[in-house]
């Protein structure tokens, strides 16, 4: 039995894979002050549902995979460790200056961001390595010892060390580490070249500072999680999801906690890819996860999960760059709680402000006064006020309607229903723009894509989003409301190894490249034989980052072979580079030399084959809840008017029968809206497949 548990801001989602490989989904409230409680509560719900004691349930589990927002929450709320930053003398303002750049050039209200570590806790280490990797100024060890004394006196809890050019010659950083061990025992530290051996000192310094600041807290949290699970009867392996879409043993994540920043959301594309493969031949998969305040989108191209090097915590240029690759998920302020408002010029906006979990939309009756996307959907009849979250929460339709009337319909001079429809349209457009940024703007035609709708509110406008994008198919998976937890069950033990080796298309160093690739292969093999042992299978994937001569931003090209044996292989990579460049940027420069810079090998150990072709109940959501809906409900579509929609029960719908809207398809976890032009069916794999 395996458990996948994703802790979100409001709910903790749990999916249990039982010994027949059937899935069971549960949702418990998250307790922000004690997230482990939510994990144990969700497990207790599962135990009750399965007529077991919690200890009995846990004793059957071989693995618990955990997604957590603990790290990101600590950063956002400023509760990370008191961290010092040690850097090369003469360059104390790396974290202050960042890389420059700004959004909104006329906005003089927004404050310039404070450095991740204050200048007051920044210390200059007398030393300098130069760009060739040779020592320009030797390390002053006595000065480092003095700094260590100061850090102790000031009760510093963690230390980040980032020296210029430590990536070409790490001796100084290593020695600083030894001196800290010796003179500041028990205080954790992070060395930049070990954590993130990347060029550009701000990014490397920022990753190092963020990582160090999380070490004490994540060490405690993950230690506490494993301990309390063990106390409750769990003797299996605890794994934590990483920002890069894999999982690592909890102990390893405690050593490099920066990898847990996007733990959880990173799983949505993994689950999305799986469900797309079951029911679609489209080469590209758009995965959209609708939450209460954000809309997270990602794109899987040709089966590849996309990574980005530029991950910001907060807004670009106003937040902090993690300096680390992570699964490329774009998040915009659009969700069920997004607030609709009309500005002084008469323009309707939805978001980015959100009513949050508290007070929530007006219809929750918890004190919210501003109309939200959820209030609009209720007013339009899409959501059943008596059957929200399986009937556990009664919604106040009248209050929702009044708020929309007062704040939107009145100012715009349109009817209540048209106003509600407009709110959904604007929110839909914000979501469309988020997807356009990762598709159209990257040269990807949504017509070649399938849209996966995750999150409880995905069904409300996924059809409309797909239609606007020209996306021919929408899939709402049966586990869609807990997409990240479902993804966790499909994820692999993954580790990525990177090396920098410079060569060009005109003077290609086969031997050098082959040596680098061989070293990367060996590192992958060590991982496969170590943490990955016991996996059912594994594979290693190679890519190269390349650019035209004198560009500084690389694009990624997959390598088919892991050794270069003949000229045709190079010619193939060169042509792939030109083609990728032209596809993304509309031009190619065939006369230009191509520079190959970064080489990456990714080892994936498949813990359990998650079958694409499910047999019987394997991999399917098992439901024991007896409940069905039928009949019709009057709903409203902007530009069409009121229509009677047939009601269907998601969980008990017969598969492979094609229906046509207008219709509402409901389950305890989600509501899906289909208009008159939409056809839909439940597929053999359990998903709802829709054609806008």
């Amino acid at each position: 039995m395996r458990f996948a548990c994703d802790t979100g801001g409001t709910f903790t989602d749990l999916i249990v894979e039982d010994d027949q490989d059937r899935l069971h989904m549960y949702k418990a409230s998250t307790t922000p002050a004690d997230p482990v409680k939510g994990v144990l509560d969700a497990l207790a719900l599962a135990a009750t549902d399965m007529d077991l004691s919690l200890a009995e349930l846990l004793s059957r589990g071989e693995m618990l995979i955990h997604g957590t927002t603990h790290a990101i929450n600590a950063i956002i709320t400023g509760t990370t460790a008191k961290t010092a930053f040690l850097t090369t003398a003469g360059h104390p303002d790396i974290l202050v200056l960042r890389e420059g750049g700004r959004i909104e050039p006329f906005n003089f209200v927004a404050a310039y961001p404070e450095p991740y570590v204050p200048r007051a806790l920044t210390f200059e280490v007398p030393e300098r390595i130069n760009s060739a990797g040779t020592v320009h100024t030797p390390l002053d060890e006595a000065a480092v010892v003095n700094i260590a004394d100061t850090l102790r006196a000031r009760s510093v809890e963690s230390v980040a060390v980032c020296l210029l050019w430590s990536i070409s010659n790490p001796t100084h950083e290593l020695r600083v580490g030894e001196l800290l061990d010796q003179h500041l025992p028990g205080v954790p530290f992070t060395l930049s070249h070990r954590l993130n051996p990347a060029l550009r000192e701000y990014r490397r310094a920022s990753s190092t500072a963020i990582d160090a600041s999380l070490k004490p807290l994540m060490g405690r949290y993950l230690g506490g999680l494993t301990e309390r699970l063990a106390d409750a009867g769990f003797s299996g392996r605890t794994l934590v999801l990483t920002s890069q879409g894999g999982m690592l043993d909890a102990g390893d994540v405690a050593q490099k906690p920066i990898h847990a920043i996007n733990s959880g959301p990173s799983m949505a594309p993994i689950a999305g890819r799986h469900y797309a493969r079951s029911d679609s031949d489209a080469p590209n998969v758009i995965i959209a996860d609708t939450g209460g305040t954000t809309y997270d989108v990602s794109l899987v191209r040709q089966g590849r999960i996309p990574l980005t090097k530029e991950t910001w915590i907060g807004q670009p240029f106003r937040g902090h760059m993690t300096g680390f690759p992570s699964i490329d998920i774009k998040s915009v302020g659009a969700g069920g709680g997004s607030i609709a408002w009309v500005d002084a010029g008469g323009l309707l906006h939805v978001g980015p402000q959100s009513s949050g979990a508290v007070p929530g939309p007006v219809c929750y009756g918890a004190g919210g006064t501003e109309p939200t996307m959820t209030d609009a959907c209720l007013t339009l009849g899409y959501v059943d006020p008596d059957n929200f979250l399986g009937g556990t929460m009664q919604l106040d339709s009248a209050a929702a309607a009044k708020a929309i009337e007062d704040k939107v319909a009145g100012p715009l001079g349109i009817s209540l229903l048209d106003a509600a429809g407009a709110i959904v349209s604007v929110a839909t457009e914000n979501m469309v723009q988020a997807i356009a940024d990762i598709t159209v703007n990257q040269g990807i035609d949504p017509a070649d894509s399938v849209l996966i709708g995750g999150g409880g509110a995905a069904g409300l406008n996924s059809v409309a989003i797909a239609r606007r994008l020209g996306c021919p198919n929408v899939i709402i998976p049966e586990t869609g409301a807990g997409l990240s937890a479902a993804g966790a069950l499909m994820s692999d033990l993954t580790h990525e190894y990177r090396a920098t080796f410079f060569t060009t298309s005109t003077a290609f160093d086969d031997d050098g490249v082959n040596r680098v690739l061989e070293e990367l292969r060996e590192q992958c093999q060590t991982f496969v034989d170590g943490p990955g042992s016991g996996a059912e299978s594994h594979d290693i994937e190679y890519t190269v980052e390349a650019r035209y001569a004198s560009q500084v931003w690389e694009i990624e090209v997959p390598l088919i072979d892991s050794t270069f044996a003949n000229a045709e292989q190079l010619a193939k990579v060169v042509e792939d580079f030109h083609a990728t460049h032209e596809q993304i940027f509309a031009i190619r420069d065939p006369g230009s030399v191509i520079e190959f810079v970064g080489w990456t090998a990714t080892a994936r150990c498949h813990v359990r084959p998650f079958s694409h072709e499910q047999q019987g109940d394997r991999g399917r959501l098992h439901t024991s809840r007896g409940r069905s809906v039928s009949g019709t409900r009057t709903i409203y579509f902007g530009g069409v008017g009121q229509v009677d929609a047939a009601l269907y029960d998601f969980e008990t719908m017969e598969s492979s029968v094609v229906h046509r809207g207008p219709a509402i398809i409901e389950s305890p976890f989600t509501t899906v809206v289909a208009d008159a032009e939409t056809t839909f069916q439940r597929t053999a794999s359990g998903s709802l497949l829709m054609q806008p």
Partner: protein
């Protein structure tokens, strides 16, 4: 969205949708330039802009561009394209950098591309403007401060010259440029990046036109301008009525009067008519130097001065610009300089002084408006450097962006630290030391903020930044035109000025040598340039600054305790706490004395 006929009005939702899509197109054009550019000035510093204009040359969407590049100028450039090439076809593109026909300055090579629908009608015009590392000037810098005219400047001038026909580049022009521009491969790569950017924009706009219909887009355009104008009317009505004149003076360089160039801006606000007039007539005639401000930059600088001073959420396009009236001098040093006078450094030095005078005049109209003067450009840390890289034996030319702050105090907030200069709005990146050391044979010794250097105020200006760097195993030529040493950036509404800029060279014997403010100097192996680039002036009386902000600055080592007491009248203890009683005494609060 379905097609609508021309008479239908779009509702607020539809308007928002199309506005987002157009902004999306221009930001996608920008992304293409950043990712594919070859010179550091594009791919490391992001010194470029993209925008969309209507067929009638009205500015429609500018995304996140450099303000000085786009608010005005693209309109004049697009008009010159149509004037010189009355018949436009799909697949045409033009190279434009003529400051006499609307370009900001010759270093800003621009690709202009008409978007032509299936019926052959010119619908929109796209612009991708990118500052070049080199443009074939007589000396290896794109800012030729002392050029007596365009001939001495030496720039190749392209007044909307066709460089692409039917999607095929016209190689005659490219060969000319490659013969005349230093580092021709780098230039060609940047040229391709600009073309790619325009082609991406065209692809997107054609798709948008096909999807929603060109008539709907035209309806949108008109309504979007009306909406923007309405937002501007509301913003102008917030400003108190009045007339105020302010001055800002650029330091003297060869070719200017010995007292420098004083820029005068008179701002009149009429809230009832919802109009702002900026009068720049009372300024000197054009001069025999490279500081003359092109018409595009004069207009834009005045607009920036206004937009920096009011509600920042007003959309910037032809609609909101209807509410600003400009009065320019034909043949002025700011205004409309005429060929063959040089506008080589037109986007920065004197243009920044126009903005400064204008936003300080705005500040005098009422508390809550305007801003202090932003720090001056172009310090040695942003030199154009050149030489031969000993590691490859190849020549190099590039502009560094090694360190700048410049931000000024605003009515509700401290400075944005990394403004670069006021016309830039902080949009450019700062170079990574490691990246510059790889791509250029230099060693950066220090880069640090300077304590006690900020323009004090209720909201303070940025600290100055000191950068020291020199060549490695070779000699290096560096060109810069540094302002702000004599006439330092002033504060607004009682805010203080910041400190003077400095341009020095550290010799092999470790002596500091003062350099001319406008220099093209050789730096030998073992020597280093020392640049101090200042922050901007403060806003409001520093003695009214929130003591907690002062405490924070002291704790962060940006302001000393002495200065906190002397200038801000805030007493900070050795433990970085506010001494409340002492502070009250310093501030003359009678209740505590």
């Amino acid at each position: 969205m379905t097609n609508t006929s021309m008479n239908d009005q779009l509702d607020g939702a539809q308007l928002a949708i199309l506005a987002n899509r157009l902004e999306g197109i221009s930001s996608k054009m920008g992304n293409t330039l950043l990712r594919t550019g070859r010179s550091g000035v594009l791919n490391r510093a992001k010194d470029f802009s993209c925008c969309i204009l209507t067929a009638g040359h009205d500015l429609l969407a500018v995304a996140e561009s450099l303000p000085i590049h786009v608010l005005s100028g693209p309109d004049i450039m697009a008009a010159s394209m149509v004037e010189f090439h009355p018949e436009l076809h799909r697949g045409d593109a033009f190279l434009h950098n003529s400051p006499y026909h609307g370009c900001s300055h010759p270093a800003d090579h621009t690709i202009i591309m008409p978007v032509v629908d299936d019926g052959g009608t010119h619908r929109y015009t796209l612009l991708a403007k990118a500052h070049q590392a080199d443009i074939g000037n007589s000396i290896p810098t794109t800012y030729h401060g002392t050029a007596r005219d365009v001939y001495e400047e030496g720039a190749l001038i392209f007044p909307a010259v066709k460089v692409m026909r039917d999607y095929e580049t016209i190689d005659d022009i490219i060969r000319m440029c490659q013969m005349r521009i230093r580092v021709p491969d780098q230039w060609y790569g940047d040229f391709l990046a600009m073309l790619g950017s325009a082609l991406i924009g065209e692809r997107e706009l054609l798709a948008l036109g096909a999807e929603v219909g060109w008539d709907t887009l035209e309806t949108f355009t008109n309504q979007w301008f009306e909406y923007s104008e309405k937002r501007m009317i509301d913003a102008v009505r917030e400003v108190p009525a009045g007339v105020h004149t302010a001055h800002s003076t650029h330091d003297a360089i060869p070719g200017t009067p010995p007292e420098g160039i004083r820029v005068t801006s008179t701002v009149s606000v009429d809230p009832e008519a919802a109009m702002i007039d900026v009068d720049l007539l009372d300024n000197a005639d054009q001069m025999h130097c490279g500081l003359n401000v092109s018409e595009a930059c004069t207009r834009t600088a005045a607009y920036i001065g206004v937009f920096n001073s009011i509600d920042h959420t007003v959309p910037k396009n032809a609609g909101s610009l209807r509410r600003i009236r400009l009065h320019l001098k034909d043949g002025g040093v700011v205004g409309i300089p005429r060929h063959p006078i040089s506008c080589s450094a037109s986007t920065t030095n004197l243009a920044d002084r126009i903005v400064s005078a204008t936003q300080r005049a705005m500040a005098e109209l009422g508390d809550g408006f305007g801003m202090g003067e932003v720090g001056c450009f172009c310090p040695p840390s942003t030199s154009v450097v050149s030489g031969v890289d000993p590691r490859t034996n190849k020549p190099y030319v590039n502009q560094l962006f090694l360190g700048h702050t410049a931000g000024a105090g605003a009515p509700q907030q401290d400075a944005w630290l990394t403004m670069l200069h006021v016309g830039n709005g902080g949009m450019c990146f700062i170079d990574s030391v490691e990246l510059d050391e790889v791509y250029t044979p230099i060693h950066v010794r220090t880069r640090r903020l300077v304590p006690d250097s900020e323009g004090a105020g209720r909201y303070r200006g940025a600290s100055a930044i000191e950068v020291e760097f020199g060549p490695v195993d070779c000699r290096m030529e560096a060109g810069f035109v540094a302002d702000g040493k004599i006439h330092v950036p002033q504060g607004a509404r009682g805010g203080h000025a910041s400190q003077p800029s400095e341009q020095l060279k550290r010799t092999g014997a470790n002596d500091l040598e003062v350099l001319d403010q406008c220099s093209i100097v050789w730096v030998e192996d073992g020597e280093a340039l020392v640049s101090v680039a200042q922050g901007g002036g403060g806003y409001g009386d520093p003695r009214t600054r929130d003591p907690e902000r002062v405490r924070h600055d002291v704790s962060e080592g940006l302001v000393s305790r002495t200065r906190a007491a002397d200038v801000y009248a805030v007493a900070i203890t050795e433990d970085d706490e506010i001494d409340v009683e002492q502070t009250a005494a310093l501030r003359g609060d009678r209740r505590h004395v």
